[in-house]
């Protein structure tokens, strides 16, 4: 068995990389795959708390790399899915304490055992970024429809291509369909025109994502959450399914048309 290593990156911080990693990892495991997610944000670990596994950490990524524990001892099994594991970042070290070769070596080992190795990349474009992208065969770029995040995404696409990670796929996070409709938020076509990359999916801004994360549960478990549906479609695409891209405003029921004609704003959320 030979798995695939995918890095989730963004350049800018705070766009939802860690949440996206948790949901993609969880989603792939829900589809029956063996998945390990790795937090490479050494010194600022967060993937553990987003996945609700923060109380189970004994060993971390740096312990595994520096042979202070066996690789399996640094892997924390998920609460809900027996085939999902987390390797947490070290909290008391810094990003320079590992190098790309060490992380690549670790991922090559994991690929023997897992279908997917998902790497949560730290923000920025320094050593931590270089470490995180080094083992990857594919890159997924997370952005929000804001000028700062998109500009940084363009910079990161250049760096990924320089590292021979061609055609990164884009997730546009925290889309607010109402604002897009009013012409006050960059839409998918604008962003594709600016960045010239393929879009893997769009995730609506969603209160239920925040309440799920508050509880340490990736929102993809909450089937009725709009962002959950969006993540499920993204996961299916990563897994090779041909899922058509829906507009976030795709609700075209009769009532929506009536509301549209009457100028009543409808719910911001549907799914992509």
């Amino acid at each position: 068995m030979k798995g695939k290593t995918i890095v989730i990156t963004s350049g800018k911080g705070g766009v939802g990389k860690t949440t996206t990693t948790a949901n993609i990892g969880t989603g792939l495991a829900m589809r029956g795959h063996k998945v390990v997610v790795i937090d490479t944000d050494i010194g600022l670990r967060n993937l553990d708390v987003v996945m609700g596994l923060e109380n189970r950490i004994v060993y971390d990524l740096v312990d595994a790399i520096e042979d202070r524990c066996k690789l399996h001892q640094a892997m924390i099994r998920d609460k809900h899915l027996p085939e999902l594991y987390l390797i947490p970042a070290a909290q008391t070290r810094d990003k320079n304490c590992i190098n790309p070769e060490q992380l690549t070596g670790l991922c090559r080992k994991l690929e023997q055992e897992f279908d997917y190795v998902i790497i949560d990349c730290p923000a920025g474009i320094e050593q931590g970024f270089k470490n995180a992208i080094s083992p990857a065969q594919e890159a997924i770029l997370v952005t929000t429809p804001e000028v700062s995040a998109i500009r940084d995404a363009d910079r990161v696409i250049g760096l990924l291509e320089a590292a021979e990670l061609y055609r990164p796929r884009l997730i546009i996070n925290r889309v607010r369909p109402g604002m897009v409709k009013r012409g006050d938020m960059l839409d998918k076509d604008d962003i594709v025109e600016l960045l010239a990359v393929d879009v893997l999916g769009m995730v609506p801004a969603d209160d239920r994502l925040i309440t799920a994360t508050n509880q340490g549960v990736p929102v993809i478990h909450d089937k009725r959450a709009p962002s959950s549906m969006a993540f499920s479609r993204i996961v299916a695409r990563i897994d090779g399914d041909d899922v058509p891209m829906l507009d976030l405003e795709a609700k075209t029921g009769l009532m929506d048309k009536v509301r549209d004609l009457m100028g009543i704003s409808r719910s911001e959320y549907s799914h992509a």
């Binding site: 000028v147 250049g158 012409g183 006050d184 604008d190 100028g263």
Partner: protein
């Protein structure tokens, strides 16, 4: 300034839901990003790209005109919102096949 004015004027459209005239701020965002991204890319790749471009352009011009050994001027300049490729080359003579 002029382009900002033009942009603002051209994007004023009537919002059907509120029935008033307003700007699409996403168009302003897109235009600003286009410029910023272009400049970022230029700043990062300039030296080798400019050298390759200079070589290719000199070769292309030389196929049609008799020119000296290089450009008098060859650079990218910033002009308001955009970048300009400025190149000057001295034409030494016209090849006979270029004359009708």
């Amino acid at each position: 300034m002029l382009s900002l004015l033009r942009r603002t004027m051209s994007r004023k459209e009537t919002d059907r839901t509120t029935d008033r005239t307003r700007d699409y701020t996403k168009d302003i965002a897109r235009d600003r990003l286009q410029t910023a991204i272009m400049r970022d890319r230029y700043d990062l790749v300039a030296p080798d790209v400019m050298e390759a471009l200079r070589r290719d352009m000199l070769a292309a011009v030389s196929r049609h005109l008799e020119v000296g050994d290089g450009f008098q001027e060859f650079e990218i300049r910033r002009l308001n919102q955009s970048l300009l490729l400025v190149s000057n080359i001295r034409v030494k003579g016209m090849a006979r096949w270029a004359v009708t």
